[in-house]
């Protein structure tokens, strides 16, 4: 208990004491109506010494770390980065971990990725390209370090987005390289799951690799990797939407017309957490022929895809509480505003929304594309 309280004090800067029990968090939570413990109720239970009740309810796992509660909290309490991981840490220490998540965390610890894939195959995606993507090991220095992160490196669908981004870089004649087999998970989900020791360990190992090579900045299309590298590793990192935006003048001259009605999904760790709203929109809007429509809930009020904070490995826990997953609600919203393409800024969004399209039967009507995929399409001509 003392450890939990110390962790809470540390992660929330003592602010959790200041909760005025207003309930903004609960009303804002995508799972607010289903969870036995909204963040407010968690704080109240902690105050009343009823932590075990929270942990036994499993509510601490019913959080996709979407940051909506935190960004709206009038007392500025770090709920997502503080209260939830602190409770999860206690849960982990007591051995109460959902199995799927536990497997993912063990895999990350052992293999540097959650899929139990060989680290040797981390650059497998690059081998599928018709040009060579240089590794830092060979090149030693490059202007840009492209970081695909675990999903972008191994996941069947997410790899496509990574390849598209690499192709765009090639077209732009960017001097870039990858870490290849030296890369390992950056650990943002690990941190949000309360595995602080593993996160520290990953950070230490990754920093050793980063320090070996010279590069101006990192580019990643994984919003969580972006968040970790920017706010915890303290590195110079660009999200790929920022990178595309920086090269927009050059790109504009090369774009072909596309015939899409596009809506853009604000990823939690681009928007709410890191304030990146306009760059991806400007990139999309500058493609000729594209009709841009907004989701009803957009920018800081966008709905989460459900993958964050380990959510992608917590589906079975979610199922205990929720009938409709947030991603399903989200794709219906896309339909409501008349989009035929959902453009995303985080690789995790792609499998989440593609799954949701199948569940809702909208898979014939709407497709999901990473912003790099859309840009590549415009460059290569529809």
């Amino acid at each position: 208990m003392d450890m939990l309280l110390n962790r809470l004090k540390e992660l929330t800067n003592n602010k959790y004491f200041q909760c005025i029990q207003c309930g903004t968090c609960g009303g804002s939570c995508p799972y607010g109506a289903y969870t036995p413990y909204t963040p407010r109720r968690m704080i109240l239970a902690i105050r009343l010494g009823m932590v075990e009740d929270i942990l036994n309810s499993n509510a601490q796992w019913l959080c996709t770390a979407c940051q909506t509660c935190t960004s709206r909290c009038p007392s500025r309490i770090q709920i997502t980065d503080g209260i939830i991981p602190a409770l999860r840490e206690k849960s982990l220490l007591e051995g109460k971990v959902p199995e799927e998540l536990s497997t993912a965390l063990i895999n990350i610890m052992r293999y540097g990725n959650p899929f139990k894939e060989s680290p040797m195959k981390r650059d497998g995606w690059a081998k599928e390209l018709d040009f060579e993507v240089p590794t830092m090991m060979k090149k030693k220095s490059a202007e840009v370090l492209l970081l695909p992160e675990c999903f972008g490196a191994y996941h069947r669908r997410c790899k496509q987005a990574t390849k598209a981004l690499a192709k765009v870089m090639k077209i732009l004649e960017v001097d870039f390289a990858i870490l290849g087999r030296e890369e390992r998970c950056t650990g943002d989900h690990v941190r949000l799951c309360g595995e602080f020791a593993l996160f520290e360990d990953l950070m230490e190992k990754n920093m050793k690799v980063f320090r070996k090579y010279e590069f101006k900045y990192i580019v990643t299309h994984d919003a969580h990797a972006f968040n970790a590298l920017k706010n915890f590793y303290g590195l110079n990192v660009l999200h790929h939407s920022q990178f595309l935006h920086d090269n927009l003048e050059k790109l504009k001259g090369m774009f072909n017309e596309l015939d899409y009605t596009v809506t853009y999904h604000d990823s939690c760790y681009l928007g709410r957490k890191n304030g990146i709203y306009e760059e991806p929109r400007e990139v999309i809007r500058s493609i000729p022929g594209v009709r841009f429509v907004e989701f009803k809930r957009n920018r800081e009020n966008a709905l989460c895809c459900g993958a964050g904070g380990g959510g992608i490995w917590l589906d079975s826990v979610m199922r205990e509480f929720v009938k409709v997953r947030p991603a399903e609600d989200r794709v219906r919203e896309a339909k409501e505003v008349g989009a035929d393409v959902i453009v995303t800024g985080c690789v995790l969004d792609i499998p989440m929304f593609e799954d949701a399209l199948k569940v809702t039967g909208l898979d014939g009507e709407i497709v999901v594309k990473d912003i790099a995929e859309l840009v590549l399409e415009a460059l290569e001509g529809g």
Binding site: C22, G23, T24, G26, S28, R72, P74, S75, E336
Partner: protein, 660 residues
Amino acid sequence: MRIGVYVCHCGRNIADVVKVRELVEFAKRLDGVAVARDYKYMCSDPGQELIVRDIKEHNLDRVVVCACSPKMHEKTFREALKRANLNPFLFQMANIRELCSWVTQDHEKATEKAKAYLKSAVERVKLHEELEVRRVRINPRVLVIGGGIAGITASLLLANSGVKVYLVEKEPTIGGKMAKFDKTFPTLDCSACILTPKMNEIKDNPNITLLTNSEVIDVKGYVGNFKVKIWRKPRYVREDVCNSCFDCIENCLFEKPEFPSEFDEGIGKRKPIYIPFPQAVPPVPIIDPNTCMWLNGKKCSRYCMEVCEPKAINFDDRGEEIEVDVGAIIVAIGYDLFDARKIERYGYKKFSNVFTAIEVERMLNSSGPTGGEVIVNGKRPERVAIVHCVGSRDEGNRVYCSRVCCMYSIKLARLIRERTNAEVYNFYIDVRAFGKGYEEFYKKALEEGIVFIRGKVAEITDHPINDYEKSEVEKGRVIVVAESTLSNSIVRLPVDMVILSVGMEPPKDLEKIKRLLKLSTTPDGFLAERHPKLDPVSTTTEGIFIAGCVQGPKDIPDSVAQAKASAGDALTLIERGEIELEPSVSEVDKEKCSGCGICVPLCPYHAISMVRYNGRMRAEINPAMCMGCGVCASSCPSRAIKHNLYTTEQIRAEIRALLA
């Protein structure tokens, strides 16, 4: 030199730690000391009498008291010297309580330290000179800035006691925010019915010069003698001749009101020539140069001019600068309302169902744009949500509680329920019904069936999550989402109308006023009072007082009480007729001054100016504005500035004795 030294026991405060007898013996041996004594309470009447008697009997010409901080009793002892016909500035205090007895239990060290302070005070006081207290006359007029309920109240109190008042209001009419309200809590008095008689009193009181559509642009001088420049913006209608027939408005080229009315918060419309509301004071129309055809160089037959019998329309009005002299200033510029657009998730200006409270006040007002009808999207609402704490109690916006929103929300709830019979839901964090009759008012609302849900609204959305919500949204409703914290459930309530209870913010003009009057603000952004409890309407600038919400959010009763307090303080100042100027200020030796001007911008009180002296520019300090901080003296490269009570010689003597 014959110095008297007095050591105070301060009961046991000093005497328990510092050996006072030893101190007295020490003092007696010092050069120039004629008398040294100790006493239980030097500040008491017998203590003071001791000094007075000694000065006379022993012919003392300097006095040192070793006691507490000079902040406590310097004035007391100076008065004692005065009673003994000795110049009060031939006096020095040594603080042996806060600096010695209160900071250690070590008797030896405390006594040694006290001796050092005593000796340095003795050495210093030898160099003191006689200083003369100067007096200046106080101009008996008062400037009141802001014509809301606070400014009106203060002006009337002053004017009724015979003081000449200049009341400056930037809007074309006085009345402020209160004039916009329909009813007032907790009595449900009609706001206009209690306010407009006061407004008319302002207009009719011969002691009040009312300057509407005007702004203060410059303030010079000091307490008792302020010179104020006021910019009267062009009204294009002459107040002195207009007979308030309003034929001009009737006959404007624009047959129908087309432009958003500022007074009606944009809900109602007005013409380019208009009167903000029927009971406006002065009851004189104004022409808006941005929308008037003629003033925009377009073609217009100027019917307004044609029909005006007293020939009051004046398109050549260029405004004018007015200069007035006053002795005191009351700042009552009120507040701004929080801009609800800043909280995007509440959908203000996005959903036509969402209103701010002040817009609803205008709607409810029978002389307002809807004639008192509550209309949303063309019909009466059947279900209304009131969102408390919009912008208030929120560290991302305003940390403080705005104090009035709970009560006005309950008031609006009751009025809407009464007029439309709608279901009304209040979403609140805490109901703060703190004033006289307020809790009773809240209970009445509960009795009337108004629902209170404890939970801050998370968002207002038109995105349905089920078929029921879908049909409600199709009916034109929006969904209010909140956690009902008392029932541990999430509420998603489809409503026809949402009222955002926006909080109060420091007014935008405050920055300008703050600069002009050299005032400071508290962390919340409102004006700082001199003491939050015991001097609530004075400011750190002498002669300037504050009233109403510019000092912090408050309701009408509190604003009125504070306005009367500030008028009382201003009156106290004026009634004195003259003020004494502290002689402990700095002076420039113009012969030594090189005219470099370094001191001018450094002075925090703007008391230094450059003047011509024997053909050269030299610094000069206005003794009435100088607060004696000494910044100029320490910065002067020519050592031409001397602080009368902190001369270099005095400070050196003090330090030398301390280090000896």
